[in-house]
Structure formats: structure tokens, C-alpha cells
């Protein structure tokens, strides 16, 4: 039922994969539900003693990454779209995450103190 018309203008483009795998309305609702649940869990654990656990930050980062990935894959339909877009997005994203990680190390945010 969901038909991707956005490819109609692309003259020499085979519309085959877009036809088959495009998400349904129901997918969008399910995704919204999952996103909401994760957000609720995130806020909930913020108010529990788990907040002082060593696993708190990793847990939050994992949930946040999951939300990030779900939105990108389903709402930005990167899961279904041309693989070029995946490259255009994940390449820069990886460099960005690498830079963030590098900076955190350099400013001692990961507390890796050896020597000096």
C-alpha cells in the first residue's frame, strides 16, 4: 500500500528495491512506540539508585545510540534507501565519533593516566 513515488522522476532508476521494502504506516507507529519506551526508561533510571552504578553511563549511551540508529534507519529510511546515502552519512558520522572520542581522551575525560 505504501508506494514510494519519490523515485518516479529518476528516469533511469530501477525502482525495484524501493517498491519491495518500503516501511508501512504501522512500522512508523511501532518505531515511535519503541522510541518513547526507551526515553521513558532513560529518564526512569535517572531517578533510581542505578544512577550511581558504573553501568549507568554505558547504559544511557547504548539506549541513546539505539534511538539514534532507529530514527536514522526507519524515519530517515536509510535502511531502505540507496547505499550511497548510507556511505554519505556513516562515513562522516564515524569520523565525527572518532574526533569526539579523541578529544575526550585528550582532555582526560576518560581518565587514562599513565606515566607523565
Amino acid at each position: 500500500m505504501a508506494h514510494d513515488a519519490s523515485h518516479a522522476d529518476a528516469a533511469d532508476h530501477g525502482a525495484e528495491h524501493a517498491e519491495e521494502h518500503h516501511p508501512q504506516w504501522s512500522t512508523y507507529w511501532k518505531v515511535a512506540l519503541i522510541l518513547s519506551v526507551i526515553t521513558v526508561v532513560e529518564v526512569w533510571i535517572y531517578y533510581t539508585p542505578f544512577r550511581d552504578s558504573k553501568l549507568f553511563v554505558p547504559a544511557l549511551l547504548t539506549m541513546s545510540a539505539a534511538k539514534f540508529a532507529i530514527v536514522v534507519m526507519f524515519y530517515m529510511h536509510l535502511k531502505y534507501d540507496h547505499k550511497l546515502f548510507r556511505v554519505l552519512f556513516t562515513g562522516p558520522l564515524l569520523i565525527a565519533i572518532g574526533t569526539l572520542t579523541g578529544l575526550m581522551f585528550l582532555f582526560g575525560k576518560f581518565a587514562l593516566h599513565l606515566g607523565g
Partner: protein, 228 residues
């Protein structure tokens, strides 16, 4: 630049004599490249916030109370998690509205279903309005947050936390504002001549931008608000 790239618009991508080597639309390629670039912008802003976290010489602080040694005045931890959780939820729901708007435009020429709810799902105007309103609500939350912080004694000039916090969230807010204006422009077209499946690409591109601004907030909410 995004707007300028988008401004290379209507007659270009859709004109049939312009074949493209990948079959992809120019503007959509450009917007994905733009989003990749924005990743680096927000990573710079987020990194700066995180680097400066805990380094302010005076309060108020995000997660701790602070007593001004000069006046003895106590400043409470300033981040308001319940309010921000609500605004985060609003922004997430706006993304849902946005995909529904896109789906509605893509399916404009299908026979109209009979069920009331299914008919609502076909209304691009409804979902575009919904997205814009949810986006505006998010901005309202942010305006509330900013003004209450100022009342509590935190401005962009107060300390490192203030400078990096307001700049980061302010840049995000500016992106949401651009997104809302973009949605209003699409609504203007919808009212003037109706968005058709051939316009789906225009909505698609706006949606990509909108969702990206949403995922940035997902990162900000966790990294800035929830992690101490």
C-alpha cells in the same frame, strides 16, 4: 548553505532531461552530504560542552548545587530533567508526524480509504501542521528553559557551563527554527496548489533535515542532561 542548496530547486531535479548517473536527485545527495557535515558541527559543540564540564570556576552548575562564597546565596542544580524529558518526547513525536506527512504526500493519488482514521492519515496538511506545532512546542520549552535559567542566575556570560550550554542548545534551537520555517513553506505550497506525489521529494528532503535535528537532540539529551 542548506537553504541555498535547496534553493537550487524546483525546476532542476524534476526536469526529465536531467538524467543523473546514480538515478538519485541532486538535492537529496546534497542534503545527505550536508547532514554529514552537520555531524561534525554538532560534535564540535558537544565536545566543547563536555570538555568544559566541571571546569567552571563559578556556578550555577548543571547537576550540583552551588553556594556563592561571596554572597552565601545557594544556586540549585540547574538542569530541569522533567521539563526536558517532556520536550524530548515532543520532538520525538514530531518525527513521527513528519514521516506520516511524507507518507501522506506519497500516497496522494491512491484511492481515498473509507475509514475516518485512514483518511486522516492521508492528510498532508494535518501532519505537516502537527510537525510544525510539535517543533514550535519544543522551541517553547526551550524558551521557557532559557528564561528560567536566566532568572536563576545563569546566562551565556556567567561561566564556562553557561557559554557552552547556551551555544550548543541555542544552535540546536536555531536548527529547529529553520526546520519549522521550512515546514511552513511546504504548508504554503500545500494550501496554494496541493502537494502531490511528484512533490514527495521536497517533503522527503525537509523530513531528512527534520529527523537529523531530532537525532542530534537524542544525543544532546543523553550526553548533556542525563549524564552527570
Amino acid at each position: 548553505m542548506a537553504t541555498a542548496a535547496i534553493a537550487e530547486s524546483h525546476s532542476h531535479g524534476e526536469v526529465s532531461h536531467h538524467r543523473t548517473s546514480t538515478g538519485l536527485n541532486h538535492r537529496k545527495v546534497a542534503v545527505w552530504a550536508f547532514i554529514g557535515s552537520e555531524c561534525m558541527l554538532f560534535v564540535s559543540l558537544i565536545s566543547t560542552y563536555l570538555i568544559y564540564k566541571g571546569r567552571s570556576v563559578v556556578g550555577p552548575y548543571p547537576h550540583e548545587n552551588w553556594t556563592d562564597p561571596a554572597t552565601g546565596k545557594v544556586f540549585k542544580e540547574i538542569l530541569n530533567i522533567p521539563v526536558t524529558s517532556a520536550s524530548t518526547f515532543v520532538l520525538l513525536m514530531s518525527s513521527l508526524a513528519m514521516v506520516l506527512a511524507l507518507a501522506a504526500v506519497q500516497n496522494k493519488d491512491k484511492p481515498m480509504p473509507t475509514g475516518w482514521w485512514d483518511r486522516q492519515l492521508r492528510s498532508s496538511k494535518l501532519w505537516l501542521w502537527m510537525t510544525a506545532l510539535l517543533g514550535t512546542t519544543f522551541l517553547g520549552f526551550q524558551a521557557y528553559e532559557f528564561t528560567s535559567f536566566v532568572h536563576e542566575g545563569l546566562t551565556i556570560r556567567t561561566n564556562l557551563f553557561g557559554s557552552s550550554f547556551f551555544t550548543l542548545t541555542g544552535f540546536h534551537g536555531a536548527h529547529v527554527t529553520v526546520g519549522v520555517l521550512w515546514l511552513l513553506a511546504l504548508l504554503g505550497i500545500d494550501y496554494k496548489r496541493g502537494l502531490k506525489p511528484a512533490d514527495a521529494l521536497n517533503v522527503d528532503i525537509a523530513a531528512l533535515y527534520w529527523h537529523f535535528v531530532d537525532v542530534v537532540w537524542i544525543a544532546i539529551f543523553t550526553l548533556i542532561y542525563l549524564i552527570k
